[in-house]
Symmetry: C2
Subunit: 305 residues, 2 copies
């Protein structure tokens, strides 16, 4: 089933605590999402880059089954850039430099042949853009949005409008607390639910994710990774496995969402094994399914005696 | 099957971020452990208190099926005291006052009728005492020990001796990093395994626990609690459900340990709902089994389509 994503494309520079540095590599929320979701279904991308966008990034991205008819290379604009440095715990990071550039401009037009998209992921970007895109898909079956601390601070009104229009919302634990004022993650998730979406997924990085919906709860640890090189894109990769799986089985039930979150966990576990989309470029769907089986084994609590 | 525990008994004063304060309540690692494990099997306690130990604590503790023949009320000594204050995140805490008192003295003698104990839990205390106790049970089938940052700092040599003699070791994530110098929790667990035990359980508080053994891994989130009153004793309660279940089914296989960890998660989830052992005093085994079923549902990732 058709899956569309909009979000950022970035030229990233990433420094990790072991002294490694990836300079000017392909990044951004929609890139990580589209790459990860492409293992499950074909993906449509709506995003803009500037005229400085390196030609070899196109080649690198061709590895993934993503339609880039909605990718605009805008003359006179510059690509979004981000430079970050991770702390020793690999969970916290400092942004050393950020240049919004083309992300501060209008969204590119949505190609006509994208209009029948049914699964829509609004990766983190300005909520005005998320709202604008959302309305362009009359046949939408599942809309899930992500956000970040910046928009919670600066655009709470638009964000609440958005929450009234999406089916699902994903955000990390600190953002959930920031948005709702609740320090307990379950209470925070419930407060987000009260703003409109049918389900909320709170991402906790290396500590997994929590699903909360009207009738219950799901809790998942992260995949127990013993070699994290770069956590950039882990959250978008989580969403990519989740949405990619749901679109591939065309099922929006809570049961499907539970399994989808496990797929998301596995895709994220690959992303963090190398910089950029380098690790995703090496694997096949069969690797993902294999690791999902392994992960299911990790979660096994047996049947008792 | 017979389960024995040694560890601290304390008079605790606990302050929580919502302004509540529990003053001079029953606490200590062996108390939380014995109370929790008593839902699964009968428990034998070896521990010392001072002559200041309040009489009403005995009455409070009678609620639990624990043999206290090994509990010594030592004339001329004072009971261990701890005063702590939790941070807003409920995971970190400051110790405002600690008085080691009787915990700094010799262990009480082990009653003769305890000698046939097969399941042994060495709750956190001085590793010299843990080593001393361990040798007194020739029929031991499973020995698991806990520790804390203090002993990792001051008694690394004794701790390594202990690690060479136990079957399992439980410790929290910061302690695992401290003991091994590994910042990745999986690598840290592997480094602990290399010191001797057959399995290691790394406790991550509200983020669950990780099991690591020679042939694999288990990962469990915590029970998604929406009302944490006081996290004191959560780690000991986790161990209590784990060891209590294992002793009750008399099974030390990895499969049994996986299920035991889920029971531990559930017992801990009750402990934190009130101060001291107050919540444990209100529940029955059936409540634990009910919540285990609920928790298994939380972990469900479905079978796919």
């Amino acid at each position: 089933m058709s899956l569309i994503v909009t979000g950022s494309i970035g030229i990233d520079t990433v420094e990790t605590p072991d002294g490694q540095k990836a300079e000017s590599v392909l990044g951004g929320s929609s890139i990580y999402f589209a790459a990860g979701a492409s293992f499950f279904t074909s993906v449509r991308l709506v995003a803009a880059v500037g005229e400085d966008f390196p030609a070899h990034f196109h080649k690198q991205f061709q590895r993934f089954d993503v339609c880039t008819d909605g990718l605009e290379e805008r003359a006179g604009s510059k690509t979004f850039r981000w430079h970050g440095r991770y702390h020793a715990n690999m969970n916290d990071r400092d942004t050393l430099d950020v240049q919004v550039n083309v992300l501060g401009e209008a969204l590119p037009p949505v190609p006509d042949h994208y209009r029948d998209s049914k699964y829509i992921f609004l990766a983190n970007t300005h909520p005005a853009g998320q709202l604008e895109l959302l309305d362009q898909f009359p046949d939408r079956k599942l809309v899930v949005a992500d956000t970040m601390d910046l928009w919670i601070d600066t655009e709470p009104g638009l964000l609440k409008q958005l929450l009234g229009k999406v089916d699902g919302f994903v955000l990390n634990d600190s953002e959930a607390k920031q948005l709702t004022g609740e320090s307990n993650v379950i209470k925070a998730a419930d407060a987000v639910l009260a703003m409109g979406p049918r389900f909320v997924v709170v991402k906790k990085g290396e500590h997994g994710a929590i699903l909360r919906h009207q009738d219950g709860t799901g809790v998942l640890p992260a995949y127990p990774a013993d070699a994290v090189i770069d956590p950039t894109g882990a959250g978008d990769s989580f969403a990519s496995g989740m949405m990619g799986y749901l679109a591939s089985v065309d099922d929006v039930s809570i049961n499907a969402i539970r399994r989808a979150m496990a797929y998301g966990t596995v895709v994220a576990s690959y992303t963090i094994e190398k910089f950029s989309t380098d690790r995703l470029a090496e694997i096949e769907r069969s690797h993902i399914d294999q690791r999902l089986d392994e992960f299911a084994g990790h979660l096994d609590i047996g049947a008792g005696i």
